[in-house]
């Protein structure tokens, strides 16, 4: 229908959407373009080159970034896995545990990390580790990440479970399945798209975190964001742009995967 007669269409909303996308992409486009700059100065364009991509892998900072990348990815994978497992159990208890006094407080506790401003969480975790004498290092980052990833894993799982009627489990039990079997054979497969989305969200949130990591990381331990931060504070360097562009590419791959996973519906 034409925009003037169709009651759904608002003239100008398309323009706003495009404007929105331009704002979102312009800075990233700049990063991507300058990452191919041959010059070592970000202000001058000296032609196409893969120099900085090579630099990322063999340059003077390559060891630091390799270690940081390893830390980031290993922490993200472990923390997201733990958080997803914990969130799956919690979502089952909350969506399928009947009504009980601890239900609302549990939901509150699980969503607390999103509600508390990140800086507050970062500082309080630091003080807490300090006051109980934890030595800061890889494990403290891992613990903190696992904790704040839980709500990000929980929310998609819970949303998914909202759409799963409990008649499915009833039907399974009616057909002689025990509770454990009904969970494994029916509920878990049905939750799977939510679990995968939750995992990916947790993974990315962990990979992206700077503030909390920066407070709880021990000496000499860097994740990609903290390493990048250490570098970019003194100005954008082309090698950082190359790393960023690679991360952007990786994000696109991840988002694409998660997109297909969330579209993937094992019920069709």
């Amino acid at each position: 229908m034409s925009a003037t007669t169709d009651v759904k269409t608002y003239t100008g909303f398309r323009f706003m959407t495009i404007l929105c996308l331009v704002i979102l992409y312009a800075p990233l486009a700049v990063v991507t373009v300058y990452s191919f700059n041959a010059s070592s100065s970000i202000t001058v364009w000296e032609g196409m080159s893969l120099r900085w991509y090579i630099d990322v892998f063999v340059g003077p900072e390559s060891a630091k970034f390799k270690q940081a990348a390893f830390n980031s990815f290993s922490i993200a994978i472990i923390a997201a896995s733990l958080a997803t497992a914990i969130a799956t159990a919690a979502a089952t208890a909350i969506m399928r545990g009947g009504s009980y006094k601890l239900r609302a407080p549990s939901i509150g506790l699980i969503t607390l990390p999103i509600m508390v401003p990140e800086i507050v969480l970062a500082v309080s975790t630091l003080i807490f580790f300090n006051s109980i004498g934890f030595t800061r290092g890889y494990l403290t980052i891992l613990a903190a990440h696992t904790a704040f990833c839980i709500p990000f894993a929980y929310l998609p799982i819970q949303a998914r479970m909202q759409g799963i009627e409990d008649t499915y489990e009833h039907a399974a039990m009616d057909l002689y399945a025990t509770k454990a079997k009904a969970f494994r054979r029916i509920l878990l497969p049905l939750m799977m798209p939510g679990i995968i989305s939750g995992f990916l969200l947790a993974f990315i949130v962990s990979l992206d975190d700077f503030i909390i990591t920066n407070f709880v990381k021990g000496a000499g331990i860097e994740t990609l964001p903290t390493a990048i931060f250490g570098s970019v504070k003194q100005g954008l360097k082309p090698n950082i742009m190359a790393i960023s562009t690679m991360l952007l590419g990786l994000s696109i791959v991840m988002v694409t995967i998660s997109h297909f996973v969330s579209k993937w519906d094992n019920t069709k």
Binding site: V7, K8, Y10, G12, F13, R14, M16, T17, L19, C20, L21, A26, P27, L28, V31, I42, I86, A87, A90, T92, A93, M95, R96, S99, Y100, L109, I110, M115, V116, P117, E118, I119, V120, L121, S124, T125, F128, A143, T146, A147, I150, M161, G163, E165, D166, H170, K179, F183, L207, F210, I211, L224, L236, I240, S244, L247, L248, S251, V255, H259
Partner: protein, 308 residues
């Protein structure tokens, strides 16, 4: 007809009632230990005495809150008056975060609406477009924003080369830059919840309004907005809360010149000031503020739910 007990996801669904405490145990443990306990420690610290040059002395004191709320002059011996320094930091944060939220809403709502009215098959693609930058490191986003906005950065070069302006726009290190940075950091948090609620919105309602002689603008104001209010409120909160505590954007884009709450708190633990109880107290004030906002939101949400 499906009775209450058999409809899915209801509070009463209780297939795993017997195991619920075991299932919740890991989350209680992890979150209780690594989130709840730290926040409690923070609460305790805010009532302790500051140690000279960082740290705490285990002596009860209200000094941190006193410092936050009362001005005792440069030398600490004047008659206490209301302390505007920190209140104005908070006020500035609220104001900055608020403007960023409004900016996000103004651009995010039409975007969300536009996406929600795409054919079902292509909506995912649009959502995908909006979310890609969000999955990219916040730091990189902020730094590249800074690079883009510099006086001699690509934006100004572009504007000057097109002849729109002759002198570079001075954006970096201004409040506008901070707002833009916050907007840029959290925009998808605005778009996604609004999108979700518009997608659930029954467009027959718009047709009913048009059928009853309402113009499109009236329909937007009187019918659509009230109907998608929960999404709008959720989006505003998800942008506003993190903006309030942000310190990357103020630090990198605002030149660390005018503190926002996040920077103020960070400074107490990592920077020059080293006043832990004060940082803890400021955190508690911030936390309380956020909780109050969320409670208001929860009440709104419950009211909205009761309506439909």
């Amino acid at each position: 007809m499906a009775g209450g007990a058999e409809s899915g996801g209801s509070v009463a669904a209780n297939t795993y009632a017997k195991a619920r405490h075991w299932l919740l145990m890991p989350s209680w443990f992890v979150l209780g230990f690594f989130v709840f306990a730290p926040v409690c420690v923070m609460l305790v610290y805010s009532f302790l005495t500051k140690e000279f040059r960082g740290g705490v002395i285990w002596e009860f004191s209200l000094a941190a809150y006193d410092q936050f709320f009362f001005d005792r002059g440069l030398f600490g011996d004047a008659e206490p008056t209301l302390q505007w320094t920190y209140i104005s930091v908070f006020w500035r944060s609220i104001w900055q975060a608020g403007l960023a939220t409004i900016l996000s809403l103004l651009i995010g709502f039409p975007t969300a609406y536009f996406i929600a009215t795409r054919p079902e098959g292509s909506r995912a693609f649009w959502v995908f477009l909006v979310t890609i930058p969000y999955w990219v490191n916040l730091l990189i986003r902020t730094v590249s924003m800074k690079f883009l906005l510099r006086d001699e950065g690509p934006l100004n070069e572009l504007l000057i080369s097109t002849g729109l302006i002759s002198d570079p726009l001075h954006i970096i290190n201004t409040n506008l830059a901070v707002q833009l940075g916050l907007f840029y950091s959290y925009l998808p948090f605005m778009v996604l919840p609004i999108y979700a609620s518009i997608e659930r919105y029954n467009f027959t309602m718009s047709e009913a309004a048009a059928d009853l002689y309402a113009t499109k603008l009236t329909t937007l104001r009187r019918i659509i907005l009230p109907a998608v209010k929960p999404g709008v409120i959720a989006g505003c909160i998800l942008v506003f809360v993190p903006s309030l505590g942000a310190f990357l954007a103020p630090d990198l884009l605002g030149g660390a010149k005018n503190f926002m709450i996040g920077s103020l708190i960070e400074e107490q633990f990592k920077g020059n000031a080293g006043n832990w109880p004060f940082g803890a107290a400021a955190s508690m004030v911030l936390l309380t503020m956020v909780m109050v906002i969320l409670l208001i939101f929860a009440r709104q949400q419950r009211r909205a739910e009761a309506q439909s």
